[in-house]
Every structure is written in structure tokens, then in C-alpha cells.
């Protein structure tokens, strides 16, 4: 029996500090070169919209991607990937809680985290983050363990405590202690299914490199095709003002703002001996003749 219903998609109000943006460019779809991804600074190019009724409040969901023309000013295809920010670190240890020995988790050292990201590792702040794993023996092909991830379900500062197990043995477990710089994270899945109690899911190994990623929004990929012509520019040729200078044969097409859009030289090719016209030519003129300003011509 359902006791309530709720939606499962919400407009994201993620901070740009928790976002990574990469782009690649190819002049055409037939390019054979491998895709080279380059980073963009989200703080510079991703601007959240503010609530019109409360200017200091993020509207939620709506963002403006401000692509600098110095990078995105060429004709061709730009692929832009917007994804949650990744934090790379090393698993300090893996263990259990001293009071809940069936609760397994991975331990991170806050001091290994870049200073500006350390607040993400405060108690409870990593809940919902995803852990992905790097192979312990790198350089053997793909370094990342593909199709494997775990979700952090809780995190608290924790201190290791050694328990004497007799016969000169000792085991280590963790207890929650805010005086520590280590963070104990429970992850899911980490429990064995009851039918196979020994099949404990892999949650990582001590000293293994991992990638920790927030899940504050769903990644987005944009493919932007930069073109030189569209319906508007084709309409210039059909419907906008035009002039043809009878003195020098310069044919000028203006945009709808009466600015010079294209100029052409119009001329005939004649037989050099008989003077018989052979061709009428319209050739694009790349050095613009500024005397063909439409307002100057028609202002008589």
C-alpha cells in the first residue's frame, strides 16, 4: 500500500563549484583525429539564473552557458560535456565499526583532499556521492575499473581502535570521533546477500586510488554545430536590400540592418579577339568597398 507519492526529478540547483565542463572540437564529422577534451572553467562559463522575485536566490534548473567566441568562434562541431565535479584521492583504509562490526566502510584522509574541497568530507556531506575505482596496477591498459561504482551512504570522522584478539593478534576497527582527520564512509552495496554470506561486494582496497563524484545533477552533453548560414542569412539574398553599381560592377547584398553582408564583382568575360561575350561572372569580393554603404547611396 502506497502511503504517498513523490516525483523523482527536480530542477538542479547545483553550485558551479561542483561542476566540471569539457569540450572538444572537430571541423567536420569526417575528422579522423581522436577526440581531444579540453577543460572550461565552470565559474566563467556557467551562470545560474536567479529567481526574478528574489534576486539572491537561484531559480533552479536554468543555467546559461556562456561560450567565449575566442574558443567557439569556428565553423564546425563542438561537443560540450557538463558533469559533476570529480575528486581524486586514495583509500586510506577499509574496515568495520567497532560497535557495528557488520558495517563495512572505506576510510579517507581529509588532509589528502585539496583544501577547497575538504568541506565536502565533513560529517554527512558525502552522502549520495559515487565512488569509482582505479586499478591498483596501473599502466596495463585502461586504468579505471569500468562498470564498477559504489554509493556513499554515510560519512563521519572516525578514529582507528585496536582490539586485542589474543594469541598476539590484534584487529583494527573504527569508532566515530570528531578529533580525527580520517573519514569513515559506508557504501552501498557492501553487504553480502543472505544466500551467499561470503560474497561480500567489493568496496575498495587500502591505498587504492578512487574517484569521488557528487550526484547533484544529471550529466549533460551538448553538441553545438556552428554554421555560417541559416534561414535568416538566406533571406538576405532573397528579401533584403541590394545595390548594383553600374560604374564599377560591384553588387552588394545588405543584411536587414542595411550593413554590407556580401559584395560581388559583376563582369563579363569576352573573347579577346572577337570581343564576343562568353560569360557573365559574379565573383565574391573579399576587400569590402565601403563607399557602397546603403544609407549613403540612398540618401539623395
Amino acid at each position: 500500500m502506497a502511503t504517498g507519492n513523490y516525483g523523482t526529478i527536480r530542477p538542479a540547483d547545483v553550485s558551479v563549484d561542483d561542476v566540471e565542463i569539457f569540450y572538444s572540437y572537430t571541423p567536420n564529422r569526417e575528422s579522423l583525429t581522436t577526440v581531444e577534451l579540453l577543460p572550461l572553467d565552470p565559474a566563467q562559463v556557467l551562470i545560474p539564473a536567479n529567481n526574478p522575485d528574489n534576486v539572491n536566490e537561484i531559480f533552479g534548473g536554468l543555467y546559461t552557458l556562456k561560450l567565449p567566441t575566442s574558443i567557439f568562434g569556428s565553423k564546425g562541431y563542438y561537443s560540450i560535456v557538463i558533469r559533476p565535479k570529480q575528486i581524486r584521492t586514495t583509500i586510506q583504509d577499509c574496515g568495520v565499526l567497532i560497535d557495528n562490526q557488520d558495517v563495512k566502510g572505506v576510510v579517507f584522509d581529509i588532509n589528502q583532499i585539496p583544501l577547497e574541497l575538504q568541506n565536502r568530507f565533513e560529517n554527512g556531506n558525502l552522502v549520495g556521492y559515487r565512488i569509482e575505482y582505479i586499478k591498483e596496477q596501473t599502466g596495463t591498459g585502461q586504468d579505471k575499473i569500468q562498470n564498477l561504482f559504489r554509493i556513499i551512504t554515510s560519512n563521519n570522522r572516525a578514529l582507528p581502535i585496536t582490539q586485542n584478539q589474543g594469541n598476539s593478534n590484534a584487529s583494527q576497527a573504527y569508532t566515530f570521533n570528531d578529533n580525527s582527520t580520517s573519514v569513515f564512509c559506508t557504501v552501498s552495496p557492501s553487504s553480502a546477500p543472505s544466500i551467499k554470506p561470503n560474497a561480500v561486494p567489493f568496496i575498495g582496497n587500502p591505498q587504492q586510488d578512487v574517484i569521488i563524484t557528487n550526484t547533484f545533477f544529471n550529466p549533460v552533453m551538448l553538441e553545438i554545430e556552428m554554421v555560417e548560414f541559416d534561414e535568416e542569412t538566406l533571406a538576405y539574398a532573397l528579401f533584403s536590400n541590394q545595390t548594383k553599381s553600374l560604374e564599377d560592377g560591384i553588387y552588394t547584398i545588405y543584411n536587414f540592418g542595411n550593413q554590407i553582408y556580401r559584395q560581388y564583382n559583376l563582369y563579363e568575360v569576352k573573347d579577346q579577339f572577337t570581343g564576343k561575350p562568353l560569360y557573365e561572372v559574379r565573383e565574391q569580393k573579399f576587400t569590402i568597398d565601403p563607399t557602397k554603404d546603403f544609407d549613403d547611396i540612398t540618401n539623395f
Binding site: 552522502v127 554515510s154 553538441e223 556552428m226
Partner: protein, 291 residues
């Protein structure tokens, strides 16, 4: 991952204006463009925003404004309920913070190490509104007047726990009866919820079935709203995996006990595979299945 395709025309960002300042006379006396003039941008897309005269547009701080191609996009987040957490004891940081960080909130800072529980308190707020007079009967005296009407005696505590809490009338007159529910006996004035039932003001309404209702207008005031030492404590939040996706305890709603949980897909198949006889239903896992 969402995939969005857009087509953008670079012509919209291409400069087509020719400032008069870049025009010069050549040796033949004809007006031509001085293409070496730094204000000449015709046919190009400048890196910074310029006006029609080729001058840089500056922001309020005197800085050039980067020329950008703006694309709007909508970003969403899929959410899921992780379920209940388990409060777990922890050793607090030995050196506690004395100054609360700016705009302190538990989501931004988590359970910030060294932050005392008082950081999470909020200033008491007053909650007020209107209700019906049904609680008035709780503070009446057991005695009746000569006409058989209820009487309300100021300071008469009718609480079931009179040593600790006060439920009773504070004062009454011809217009109103003011009474408290749930006050501390040592601080009746500032604790509990204060009700004022107006004797000569009536509210007439209908219930959800259309039946007419009438009662004395009653106002309530509580001065103890917000987070405080009575409803706030600090614990480490531990997620036990067996509670993943569970937001309340498993309940027996039918003849078959359903173990609610995210990871019970194998459990259910395995459980049925263990049942060979009707006797197994009773004995399996110590009576786990109930008929």
C-alpha cells in the same frame, strides 16, 4: 546523460559595421578601408564585445567584456530516498568552536567537527493561530455551577502529571477564558501553549461532509517554536545497509510477511526455494513466514 543538439549561426556574432574612423583616402583619392586600424573588425568575431564604432564595451569596473555565445540549458537531478539513518554515538572534538561560521547550516557544513549543538539552535519563535474550543473542556473543574454549567477555576491544575506540567485556566472573565496546556509548573507563563477562548464570538462552518459546526472562537499562542535544547541533539548518522530505501519499519499488511527492502530480490527467490512442504512454511527460519 541528457544529449542536446543545437545549431548556432556564427553570422549573428560577426561584425558587419564599418566605423567611419577606419576609412581613409588612397592615392587615387578613393575611400578605402584601413584594414590595419585596430577598430576594424568587419567579417570577424571579436573576442571582446565592441560597439558599432569598434570601441571595447567596458563593464562597471572598466574591464573588457568577453564576447560569448550564450546557450540556455536546463539541468535536472534524479532523486531517490535513501531511507532511514541510525543515530550513533560519537566522540566530540575536544576543542569546540566558539564562533558560528557565516550562514551556518547543517547541509553546507554537515555535522561540523567542533561545532556544539547550540550552533544548531534557532531563536525561539512565537506560533499563533486559531482553532476550535475542544481543548477548553480539558481545563474545566469537576464541579458544576448551580445551573449545571462547567466552571473554570483560575490556577486549578488538571494535568495528569501535576508535579511537572500545568494544564489549567490562567484567568477568566465575561469575555474570554485564557488557559494553558502543557506548561512547566515552574514557568507557566513562558512555557506550554496558551489558548484564549472568546465567550461571545462564534465560528460557524461545515465539516468535510457538509454538516454544520459551531464553536467558540479560540486563539492559540506558543512561544517555544524552533530548534532548541529540548528537540535537538547531535549524533553521528550511520547508514546501515539493511535500511537502504526503507523509510519505516516493515509492516505486516496481509497474511504473507513482506520484508520490505531494496535488496530483497534474491531473498524472495531463495526463500521460496527453501519451502518444500506446508510444514516448512511454519518452521522455516523460525517462523519467519506467517500464515
Amino acid at each position: 546523460m541528457e544529449y542536446i543538439r543545437k545549431k548556432i549561426n556564427l553570422e549573428n556574432y560577426t561584425v558587419r559595421s564599418i566605423p567611419k574612423s577606419v576609412l581613409v583616402k588612397n592615392s587615387e583619392g578613393k575611400t578605402v578601408i584601413d584594414e590595419s586600424n585596430p577598430k576594424y573588425y568587419y567579417g570577424t568575431i571579436p573576442n571582446y564585445k565592441i560597439d558599432s564604432e569598434g570601441n571595447f564595451i567596458l563593464d562597471p569596473f572598466g574591464q573588457k567584456i568577453v564576447n560569448t555565445i550564450d546557450v540556455s540549458l536546463f539541468i535536472t537531478q534524479d532523486i531517490d530516498d535513501m531511507g532511514i539513518f541510525t543515530d550513533t554515538p560519537f566522540v566530540p572534538k575536544s576543542s569546540t568552536l566558539t564562533i558560528k561560521p557565516d550562514n551556518f547550516n547543517s547541509f553546507t557544513y554537515g555535522r561540523l567537527a567542533g561545532a556544539p549543538v547550540s550552533f544548531y539552535y534557532k531563536s525561539p519563535i512565537t506560533v499563533s493561530g486559531y482553532t476550535d474550543d475542544s481543548l477548553l473542556k480539558q481545563v474545566k473543574s469537576y464541579r458544576k455551577d448551580t445551573q449545571g454549567n462547567d466552571i473554570y477555576v483560575p490556577n486549578l491544575n488538571v494535568s495528569n502529571d501535576p508535579k511537572n506540567s500545568f494544564n489549567g485556566v490562567v484567568y477568566t472573565n465575561n469575555l474570554e477564558t485564557v488557559y494553558k496546556i502543557g506548561s512547566n509548573v515552574n514557568n507557566v507563563q513562558n512555557t506550554g501553549v496558551e489558548y484564549t477562548t472568546f465567550k461571545n464570538e462564534y465560528v460557524k462552518t461545515v465539516d468535510e461532509f457538509g454538516k454544520a459546526l459551531s464553536y467558540n472562537k479560540t486563539k492559540f499562542v506558543s512561544k517555544n517554536g524552533g530548534w532548541n535544547e529540548y528537540n535537538t541533539s547531535l549524533n553521528a548518522s550511520l547508514k546501515k545497509e539493511e535500511y537502504l530505501g526503507i523509510v519505516f519499519k516493515p509492516e505486516v499488511d496481509s497474511a504473507v510477511f513482506i520484508n520490505r527492502g531494496v535488496e530483497d530480490i534474491f531473498e524472495r527467490h531463495a526463500l521460496l526455494s527453501e519451502i518444500k512442504t506446508t510444514n516448512d512454511i511454519d518452521t522455516n527460519r523460525g517462523g519467519f513466514i506467517r500464515i
